[in-house]
């Protein structure tokens, strides 16, 4: 299953090291994390040492070695959001979901991340759930946002 998917991703690119990041990005998109078997297969088929793949996978923020929740919540901590109180929003999410930043809820529904600038500074503070952007968020709006995705 994973093997076929990975082959499919690998076929989109030239099998040289310069495509490695793109391959990992597609893999991350497919699974919401980088499964170990997939990395081992990529290492073999692209002829890139596993150690190098691991160092990329842990260096870049876009990659995760652990499965993410169905609805990834990204709280923007960009400058504009920070001066408009984004840290408090993040902490509110932590309290509401009962997890720390970087973790995933037990039911695998939500994972919480802090990100640096989503580029919607006009709407600060901004929270992105999946693909959807919520602008001008306040602490009191947080429970409603979570509720919306619980169904």
């Amino acid at each position: 299953m994973i093997e076929a998917k990975v082959s499919d991703i690998l076929n989109r690119y030239a099998r040289d090291e310069s495509s490695l990041i793109a391959v990992l990005q597609d893999l991350q998109e497919e699974y919401s994390y980088l499964p170990r078997e997939a990395l081992e297969q990529i290492s073999k088929e692209m002829n890139v040492p596993l150690s190098r793949i691991l160092s990329l996978a842990t260096f870049f923020k876009a990659f995760s070695l652990k499965p993410k929740g169905k609805h990834p919540i990204n709280v923007c901590l960009g400058t504009a959001c920070h001066v408009r109180g984004a840290q408090l929003i993040l902490e509110k999410f932590e309290r509401e979901l009962g997890i720390k930043t970087g973790e995933t809820t037990q039911d695998l529904l939500f994972s919480l991340e802090a990100v640096r600038c989503l580029g919607c500074c006009g709407l600060a503070p901004v929270v992105m759930v999946g693909e959807e952007v919520h602008g001008k968020v306040t602490q009191t709006k947080v429970p409603a946002i979570i509720k919306k995705y619980k169904k």
Binding site: S18, L20, Q25, L123
Partner: protein, 608 residues
């Protein structure tokens, strides 16, 4: 990809589809417009065009009606039927959907009359709001690829470089290296197999800055054309555009633009029949601020760890795969076609003696008109903040502006008449950077801001060199201590000592500039540090550990009649009281999240 013959419409509705407006449901507005236009039978007369970012993100979703340049803002789906009937059917622009400056009573209908737009001079952003970024024909109609034709048929590489040199264009990515000189270096560099590369740095990592994103979204072809001209000048055959993966829309639009350019033979072999070859590949970043540093960016394109390496050798001598490589940022590339088309002299006539042309800034933070502006170099801070930015919301006092992102510094209110150019910003202890401007008012704590930026760089440090990896962490620890009221006076000395060494000893630009926010705030706002250390107080009530929330029982009881809203919203059951009586906060339980302060309609909750 067949090209349909375009029909003439009497009205074009230019709907902004930049990330900001898309986040504000711009596509729903577009659908509603199309539906309503069809319902009214106007589909043969009125065309809806999606454009890239218009800049006035604060007011999104935005739409401009052409002809007439009528500017609509903060649209909702509900407004659409009325707008179509009134404006498009009856020809009566709808006043209530227009922009009304805070200080004026009447709405301003015409875009060019709005202060936010009035003072701007568009060079890099020349096509914003005027073209559909997904249509190459729109770009061509606005003199797109005209400069390319000129460069390919009438100019030698030396002439192109000469033109860029006399334009005085300096790198818009931050360091301000003269572009013409860089090109000359790459042109002169010897490559064993004659291969040279060209890179567009679109890894815009500064939090609060989004000009590169905006250009790639609104006018991708201007970057492609700039790179084509650059390729001819330095003798490159392959280019790369490195874009943050956090900018999906920009990636999508640049990919479409590349396809279109290839379709018309503006990329690939034998471009426009002139025998010139060049192609461009898009590389998506994967979330590392340090990849904005050129050597780290190159490593990342090669598929290696985005870790800076010592310079020299500079990329101009040894870049991608060891070949001479020219790296310029998105905005720099977008300026090139105009310079070639209108001449370097024309460009040099804008701006100041050492900083020529215009610069795009994103103004965010405590400001009325958040958005993206392009202004001539040398404009004063006051003009940007008050004339364009519309001043500080809520009549608060302007305190400082932070420029240059995490690498920059804070410029205090006293320097509001500072002209904006590379040299004066550096003299003030900050830097041009990529052009992010974060405006701060009296409610902003400067220690917290310094801590914020340092936590950013500390988090983004790649960890290769000691001063950046260990030093930023040590500084952050100290700043955290100070914001928690545990700082000592020796801490300030240690901070300065660390800052000096990190600045001098770090390997790359990220570390070398990381202490700037701390150094400038220490320079201009030392009293705020002292207040945190000596009085254990945060004057702006931002540092939460130093805050105490209290409820004024009199106001709570008399004005609010003990409304109980604060108690219901309190996360930790720290508020005692029931409906109809004055409430109290149990300080042992209070986590200082400030919700009670936010929800109280009567101003009964006070921060000390």
């Amino acid at each position: 990809m067949a090209v349909e013959k375009e029909k003439l419409y009497r009205v074009h509705l230019m709907v902004c589809a930049g990330t900001g407006c898309v986040s504000n449901h711009a596509f729903e507005i577009k659908e509603a417009l199309e539906k309503e236009i069809k319902r009214r039978g106007l589909e043969k007369e009125v065309k809806v065009v999606t454009t890239g970012c218009n800049g006035f993100c604060e007011r999104g979703p935005l739409m401009v009606v052409q002809p007439g340049n009528i500017f609509y803002q903060m649209l909702t789906v509900k407004d659409i039927p009325y707008l179509v009937e009134e404006h498009l059917l009856k020809g009566r622009p709808v006043k209530k959907l227009m922009y009304q400056p805070p200080e004026e009573k009447t709405p301003v209908p015409v875009l060019s009359e709005i202060n936010f737009f009035k003072k701007q001079v568009l060079v890099a952003l020349r096509n914003r709001g005027l073209i559909d970024p997904e249509k190459i024909e729109d770009y061509i109609a606005r003199d797109g690829y005209k400069a390319l034709v000129k460069a390919l048929t009438q100019m030698t590489p030396e002439e192109i470089i000469h033109e860029v040199t006399i334009s005085g264009l300096r790198g818009r990515g931050g360091a301000g290296f003269p572009t013409g000189l860089k090109w000359q270096l790459v042109r002169n560099a010897i490559s064993p197999d004659n291969e040279k590369y060209l890179v567009c740095n679109g890894d815009e990592g500064d939090p609060g800055a989004f000009m590169d994103r905006s250009i790639l979204e609104a006018d991708p072809h201007s970057v492609i054309e700039g790179m084509l001209i650059g390729a001819k000048a330095i003798g490159a055959t392959q280019g790369f555009i490195y874009v943050r993966n956090e900018y999906p829309l920009a990636v999508k639009r640049i990919l479409i633009a590349l396809d279109q350019a290839r379709y018309y033979g503006l990329l690939g072999h034998d471009i426009l029949g002139t025998g010139f070859d060049f192609d461009i590949r898009v590389v998506r970043g994967a979330g590392a601020f340090v990849c904005g540093e050129e050597t780290a960016l190159l490593a990342s394109i090669e598929g290696r760890l985005g870790e800076p390496r010592p310079r020299p050798p500079y990329p101009a001598e040894k870049g991608l795969w060891g070949k001479p490589t020219c790296i310029n940022n998105v905005e720099t590339w977008a300026n090139i076609p105009v310079i070639i088309d209108r001449g370097g002299k024309w460009f040099a006539s804008i701006g100041t003696a050492t900083s020529k042309g215009t610069k795009v800034f994103s103004i965010v933070g405590k400001i009325n008109n958040t958005g993206l502006v392009e202004v001539p170099m040398g404009i004063t801070l006051r003009e940007i903040i008050y004339d364009i930015g519309g001043g500080i919301p809520g009549g608060k006092k302007f305190k400082a502006v932070q420029t240059g992102g995490p690498s920059g510094g804070c410029i205090p209110a006293e320097l509001i008449n500072l002209p904006i150019d590379y040299e004066s910003l550096t003299a003030a202890g900050s830097m041009m950077g990529s052009g992010g401007m974060v405006v701060m008012d009296e409610d902003t704590c400067m220690v917290d801001v310094a801590r914020y930026f340092l936590s950013f760089t500390q988090d983004e440090s790649c960890g290769k060199c000691t001063p950046c990896r260990e030093g930023t962490k040590a500084m952050l620890d100290i700043l955290t201590r100070i914001t928690e009221g545990k700082g000592t006076e020796e801490d300030l000395g240690l901070l300065e000592e660390l800052a000096d060494t990190i600045k001098e000893a770090s390997l790359c630009g990220l570390g070398k500039t990381a202490p700037n926010p701390v150094l400038t705030t220490l320079r201009y706002f030392r009293d705020e540090y002292i207040a945190h250390i000596q009085d254990k107080k945060c004057p702006a009530h931002v540092c939460r550990s130093l805050n105490v929330y209290k409820i004024d029982p009199q106001i709570c009881f008399e004005k609010g009649h003990g409304c109980d809203v604060c108690r219901r919203n309190c996360a930790t059951d720290a508020i005692i009281g029931s409906k109809g009586e004055a409430h109290k906060i149990d300080q042992t339980k209070c986590i200082k999240c400030g919700v009670c302060f936010d929800v109280c309609h009567f101003g009964a909750v006070k921060v000390e």
